[in-house]
């Protein structure tokens, strides 16, 4: 069947569908519609209500929390920002936040440089065994993180770099490099070759073509990889809890878990205030880069 025939056959069908959609649903269709939107509401509530709950808890006083939810109900009786102040003045949460930002940003930067050049080479250059290399990178992404912890602990101990945030960066690459390299390799394969080849014919070297022609076109893909790498590095807990020992060196997630264990009594308002704080950058990233994250997740995992 030729393309035009298929096109012609489809038009009336989709118009009929359009007409059907415009008609107001009645009877069974109406109930199906109500059921659908009910499901949508449930999905949204289950996803977002817990965030309201920690926000509410973070704004409650110790006394309110001790009295239990029944005493106040769904809404807090009044808003107290004391837990947020306490987080910074008494729990020293600023240092862990800065530590987290440093490691996540450095891991992202290294990931981007390494995965961009590798992704380009795997997409474009005549490398023998590129299938094998891609397979290895994929399998590395499946490697059990907790199995790495012991040997890396011994290595860092030997090098005298335990309880420092910088060795974490090396470990974080196991989260970030596989997905970023696959994503960028797929992204480069989709960019038409003509551009860079024109540059090559004009006498540019490969590296010049990569830097001046390909990278500018690849900015959206690189940006997507950077967002995913940052999220994955920012979210780590397993390596931090294994290699860091003293609170000033903790990353933010480890510091939060430590709040609960170091206090005589667990004050959920302080813990949840810190949870709200580290959720904010991620929530903003999702809101502004939703489409990119979705394409990144799917392009990074499909061939």
């Amino acid at each position: 069947m030729s393309a035009s025939a298929a096109e012609a056959g489809r038009v009336p069908a989709s118009r009929a569908a359009e007409r059907r959609r415009r008609r107001l649903p009645r009877g069974a269709a109406l109930w199906r519609e109500i059921g659908f939107y009910l499901l949508v509401l449930i999905a949204i509530a289950v996803s977002l209500f817990p965030f309201y709950w920690i926000l509410r808890t973070s704004l409650a006083t110790n006394a309110e929390i001790a009295n239990g939810v029944e005493s106040t109900g769904l809404l807090p009786s009044h808003l107290s920002f004391k837990a947020y102040v306490d987080d910074f003045t008494q729990q020293h949460f600023l240092k862990p936040l800065i530590n987290s930002a440093i490691v996540a940003l450095l891991a992202t930067a290294i990931t981007i440089v390494v995965s961009t050049i590798a992704g380009y080479a795997l997409a474009r250059m005549p490398i023998r065994g590129s299938g094998l290399i891609l397979g290895f990178i994929l399998i590395a992404g499946f490697f059990p993180v907790l199995a790495m912890v012991g040997p890396l602990f011994l290595l860092f101990k030997e090098l005298g770099v335990l309880d420092s945030i910088y060795p974490l960066i090396l470990a974080y690459l196991v989260y970030t490099l596989p997905i970023a390299t696959w994503l960028l390799r797929n992204f480069f394969s989709q960019i038409p070759r003509d551009l860079e080849e024109a540059a090559l014919v004009d006498g540019a070297t490969r590296l010049q073509a990569l830097r001046k022609v390909v990278v500018p076109v690849a900015v959206p893909g690189v940006f997507t990889a950077a967002i995913l790498a940052f999220i994955l590095a920012w979210n780590d807990f397993a390596f931090a809890v294994s290699f860091l020992e003293t609170p000033p060196h903790f990353t933010a997630p480890l510091a939060i878990v430590n709040f609960g264990q170091s206090n005589f009594q667990v004050f959920y308002n302080r813990i949840d205030a810190a949870v709200v704080i580290i959720t904010i950058p991620i929530a903003l990233l999702v809101l502004f880069a939703q489409r990119r994250i979705v394409t990144g997740l799917t392009a990074g995992s499909f061939r």
Binding site: G68, P253, I278, F302
Partner: protein
Amino acid sequence: MSAHLAAPAPARGHRGRRAARSRRDAQAQGDRRLGYALVAPVIVLLLAVTAYPLFYNLWNSFHHVDLSEAGAPQSFVGVENYTRMFGSSVWVSALERTIAFTAVSIAIETLIALVLALMLNRPFRGRGFLRAAILIPWAVPTVVSATLWKTMFDPRAGFVDYLLGGLHLPGAHTTWLAGVWTSWAAIFVADAWKNVPFMAIILLAGLQVIPGEIYEAARIDGASAWQSFRRMTLPLLKPALAVALIFRTLQAFLVFDVIYIMTGGGPGVSTETLSFLNWQTFLVATDFGYGGAISVMLVLMSLAIAAVYVRLLRPETA
């Protein structure tokens, strides 16, 4: 590339063509060398964080390496660490718990993710909002999801008991993290809340490449919605399902963060999984020989899971 280079050659005659070809060969060879140089960093770095720990673990697993002993003696012990592991009821029950958690989580999460993906595949007002709403739980750190659900399940500060009490349902005033099954329920909810969105997004991408016309055709042929889902959607969704299942099964099998934060393996040892046991052996018991044996098994089992899925869900068998 060859088309561009060949075009001006005839004008330059025989010599020009040969020069062009040798220039092209030189460039191809230079390209190949440059290609290896560009790929080398990613390979070296990934080998450093995977192959190096794997072989280190393998070596340790045949030795006695215990940091708690003075001088940390490292004597060769043969397969002693492995016989100890296979004979250990702690390891066996951690394995059983891990398998049970993985099987239950994956079965339920796949169903929910499929429903979410089918919903998101339909155009409706608020679709973008729903997608953003489910993406946020995926993107937040596990520390956030685990702490958040710990708050939600808290008998005093939590919402779950409050809701059950308000609706006069059984289960109000439960100290969830004090019981074995209630702890598992809380862990499952926290884990699913964070991870279902990933599956849903992958399945949605799979649904979006299925052409809408085939449904129209099936409907005209009198197929019911269930029939067209069963006979067309599911088979065509197989590649996406494979990707989602491989990623999620391995994640669930290696579950650690959420357990550490919510229950610390407790009450008692009732929520200890393999990854948790592995972490404890390394960093609490500082027994790197035994921990190495547990790690080697963990790697082998992960590879086996990946291999099984790749075999079962190969696109050709669809």
